[in-house]
Symmetry: C2
Subunit: 624 residues, 2 copies
């Protein structure tokens, strides 16, 4: 809690680039890099969930590794002294090493540190062929000639989609009758219906010069942010990453307002789709430029998002997602030609959209489950991805249950009097001393202007611990810093002289009510799934908290509020953007993709609102 910034200046040396900057005490190493004009990857924008800003302090003292870092940095890297630049605050002058992987402008085809542990087994593989030129004695059509060549090497005869035929003849002659073909091995995607549109025969989806590696793109389309990863298909290596704000934010901050926009405007659906596709095309331009590749090398893609993001990206109607009973158009996996979506990849490339489970349990949840492995372990595991809707999955003994909880936007700062997003000026950590005085950690380098989700969770946990509020959330008016405004009690986190905007920052009885509703919604989801599985929470071996917000939560605080069941803290695991990891696994591994399709079908979706246990458990969960 060292944000009571003094006004000394610290000198930071950035190696091996050899740049020196001065920063104010309290600023992070990421701030230092930015001040020095060095672009680090930092897909998450410094929020700590992407683990891409790895650095290694060489001399001087810095703050100790945060929970985020302890959970997310690989043990061997942590032992070697690696830190996240966005989490690390220098305490003295410091010299720090920025490895090339953490720089936004990487070397060509440079290796990235953290790869999937699953062996690369991509759907699209490379076959290099050289054919005899056409002559009057050998008049085979160009496509036939290539099919014969592939069949001679591979034993199977691939088909050519129409889109590829448009390029084939010119390219074949320009490359002097040699080429590398990207062959989509649909016959590998064995299990019934696992990959829609599965053909008996292989399909050629890309034609590139011999030697050019085939690439894949994994994308997580979040309601707020988009993260994209460029991967070498043959090795599974992530070559480059990029992030962007989801441009649909301009048409509605949350899912429901975007659904409304799509319904109420004549071209609403088309607009929302076009904006996200444009952004993806721009991200791809940056990514391929970074590694010196061509777009036509992108031969496969896996794109995940919640059901609404999935539908809006695919141009599917969302009307029926916006009203009861909230059904998706499609829940099976989709393989859509990239060109049909307006994506400029290899001319025959497909985009794979993993399955949705329900209207509010989407492909991103599936990707999270794949990324964390919760659907494969023999242990009893709960995984939650907290947001405006919180998806919960429970796996036990080969069976899977999932549900969606209407947790609402309180964790994003909405409906909270002084709430705000996790942006500079937000109170993100709160401790309350035995004397009832608050200690605050604020995002960025300024005075506080509001409180974000993790801050309000901390605050309520501390108010409970210190007895300032009771189990029902009622204030003890006698306690320090408890004020009264028009008969509504509140606790003052920052007085008007401390706050950046000159108004006090408080937690009100009404704020506490909002959080009670939100945390009860999540807890009841967990409880109903436990009920369906016939087990008690003590039998949970592992409780996985995924997603950006979940990564920031202080687990002890969260357990104290009752949002999560009271398990030993060691059973909790905060995993950051597991959906992105899952998307990359499905991109480079057919078995992972097939597993996702199979498991998603096996999921027993539990509709909470009509569950007989819902009302009772919900009321019970309201208390802290």
């Amino acid at each position: 809690m060292g944000a009571n910034a003094d006004h000394t200046t610290l000198q930071i040396d950035l190696e091996p680039i050899g740049r020196r900057v001065d920063i104010a005490a309290g600023q992070t190493l990421l701030d230092a890099a930015r001040a020095a004009g060095i672009e680090m990857v930092a897909v998450c924008g410094g929020e700590g969930w992407c683990y891409t800003c790895l650095v290694r302090p060489l001399t001087g003292r810095v703050t100790a590794p945060t929970t985020v870092e302890q959970e997310g940095i690989r043990p061997d890297e942590l032992a070697a002294g690696f830190r996240l630049a966005c989490q690390t605050i220098p305490l003295t002058d410091v010299k720090v090493e920025i490895p090339p992987d953490s720089l936004a402008t990487q070397q060509r085809l440079q290796l990235e540190g953290r790869e999937t542990e699953h062996p690369s087994a991509p759907l699209v593989t490379e076959i290099d062929i050289t054919v005899d030129p056409a002559t009057l004695e050998d008049l085979r059509a160009d496509a036939t000639r290539l099919q014969d060549a592939v069949e001679a090497i591979d034993g199977a005869r691939p088909v050519f989609p129409h889109a590829l035929l448009r390029d084939l003849s010119g390219q074949l002659r320009a490359q002097e009758w040699s080429a590398r073909l990207g062959v989509r091995r649909t016959r590998l995607a064995v299990p019934d219906g696992a990959i829609k549109g599965t053909e008996e025969r292989d399909e050629v989806v890309a034609i590139v010069p011999t030697g050019a590696p085939l690439l894949g793109l994994a994308v997580d389309i979040g309601t707020t942010k988009i993260a994209a990863y460029l991967v070498e298909l043959s090795t599974g290596r992530t070559l480059a990453k990029a992030g962007a704000v989801n441009p649909q934010v301009a048409y509605g901050e949350d899912v429901l307002s975007r659904i409304s926009y799509a319904i109420e405007h004549a071209d609403g659906r088309a607009t929302l789709q076009a904006r996200v596709v444009d952004t993806l095309n721009r991200l791809v331009t940056d990514l391929v430029a970074e590694v010196g590749a061509a777009r036509s090398q992108i031969a496969d893609a896996v794109i995940v998002g919640n059901t609404a993001m999935h539908h809006l990206f695919a141009g599917l109607p969302v009307d029926q997602l916006g009203r009861a009973p909230y059904v998706p158009v499609v829940s099976d996996p989709l393989d859509i030609p990239a060109r049909d979506l307006g994506l400029d990849f290899a001319s025959g490339a497909y985009v794979h959209l993993p399955p949705n489970i329900a209207g509010y349990v989407g492909a991103d949840h599936v990707a999270m489950a794949i990324g964390t492995g919760v659907w494969e372990t023999a242990r009893t595991v709960v995984a939650v991805d907290i947001g405006t809707n919180t998806e919960v999955t429970l796996a036990k003994g080969g069976r899977i249950w999932s549900c969606s909880c209407a947790s609402g936007p309180a964790f994003e700062g909405a409906h909270i009097r002084d709430g705000m997003r996790a942006a500079p000026g937000a109170i993100e950590r709160v401790q309350i001393t035995e004397g009832g005085q608050p200690l605050l950690k604020i995002i960025g380098d300024g005075p506080p202007v509001g409180i974000c989700g993790s801050g309000i969770m901390d605050a309520i946990s501390e108010l409970l611990r210190t007895g300032i509020i009771n189990r029902k959330g009622v204030f003890d008016a006698q306690m320090p810093r408890v004020g009264n405004e028009d008969g509504v009690l509140h606790y003052v986190l920052a007085g008007s002289s401390t706050a950046g905007h000159g108004r006090p920052i408080v937690v009100t009885r009404k704020d506490i009510n909002e959080i009670q509703l939100a945390k009860a919604a999540i807890r009841v989801g967990v409880e109903v799934l436990l009920h369906e599985a016939g087990i008690s929470h003590g039998e949970i071996d592992e409780f996985i908290v995924a997603g950006a917000f979940g990564t920031y939560l202080d687990i002890a605080s969260t357990v104290r509020t009752g949002m999560f069941p009271p398990l030993p803290l060691a059973r909790f695991k905060q995993v950051g953007n597991a959906a992105g990891a899952g998307a990359r696994q499905m991109l480079v591994s057919v078995p992972r993709r097939v597993l996702a399709a199979q498991r998603a079908r096996q999921v027993a979706y539990v509709e909470l609102t009509i569950h007989p246990e819902f009302a009772r458990k919900y009321l019970k969960s309201l208390y802290f």
Copy 2:
């Protein structure tokens, strides 16, 4: 030869419409209908190859049935007195019945006379389903719900293409959870590779209101003309027809000049494709309006054309078609989503393009072979489709040979001094009296202005018969009407006072040379295929002459010139636009489509220019 028009006027009564018009003697019944403002179908524009302007003279006298009519009108119709309006010239006042099928503005869903004799077995079939609405207790995705319903009826579970998913949810609700689905039964398309992109599972390609019939479109894209047929898939009935000039004519009259345009202009290929697609979309607008249907009912299409028309329509490169060794990009059948081609049909509809055999033996030749049945008969059959390139196929004992002959544009009037297309003013028939005087038949109602292909064939045949030229094509300067211009001899068909433009219309030694080259090219094609089959021409059971020009030829004249081998005239059969008939068969019958794919693969393509017999046979064929 009754075109020496006198100037009397004849009165024509058109029934059952009850309209009366006066026409000049020598005008046809089609002229009469036009003069009366009655739109007849006449896809071919009155050229006599489409057999759509059937009428029945009731009273009065008309010219006798032409060869065209005798060959093309069904015997029972001919016996009942049916004639082609475009071929029939009244000799007295006449009353004529125009049956509704021959009117361009037909009754809704009216039956058409001439249908394929093959039973309807379309690739896309109708399945009517009604499903329970989604509820909180039954949250299946819309696509899953429909798949379950189809599976319950049909035993097979279809997939939904992405394009259809965009419409499905809205339509399902608008139609109160009932729908007629068009299911593309790809699992029916059995033989290996017969239909490209064959999937194990069926695919839903159209969703229409229950009761709306699914339609199909058959199109013959000729270099000059486009003919389109709207067909009811379940019955195979042709509901409406329409024709248009191929708009690519504006970019080059023949195949080679269009290939040049596509290569030499930056957007050449795209322009040529867009123009023909626009024309098809407009024809479809007319066709569906005529029968009161919606475009979204068009669930399948078969489109044929020569290899260059095929490639330009599909947006495939033609560079390699324009230079040796003239190979196509693709020869296998293609199934391309209609939307990928810019065609506005049912959202999931495909366009089937039958196979090409070689760069100059295209899908239209395959369609001709299917339409005429030449590849199925146990007899020994030759079929030729005469044009700038003349394709020849020979079938004998289950084996098939094909070749392409560079017959050149002489038959279209090019490179002939007074040559012209078969348009008004063209001399289309020539007789020469024993006294050496010409008798001419001219297209239309005016004086002659030139000579078309069938006219020049007649003229040469008659010059040979009367000894005015010898077997080498050399003029006898002593004969009547043989003139000399700068040392080049010619025969005067029409003197300057007879010709419409005041200049004599002649056949020169050079014209005769051009025809010698052209007819030799065709004859050598036939001879080389006979050589390959190891038979003599006497063993040909049937000699089929397809296409517009072939329909106009006087077979006896043509045999006399040596273009066709000297067979009994009864063995020749002029079949008109057999390619359009073949396209319709492949549209409504999977077995016909499969047969086309199989047979096309079995064809032994013979490249004439490198055939050891070519030079010898060619030289021999030059003589008459």
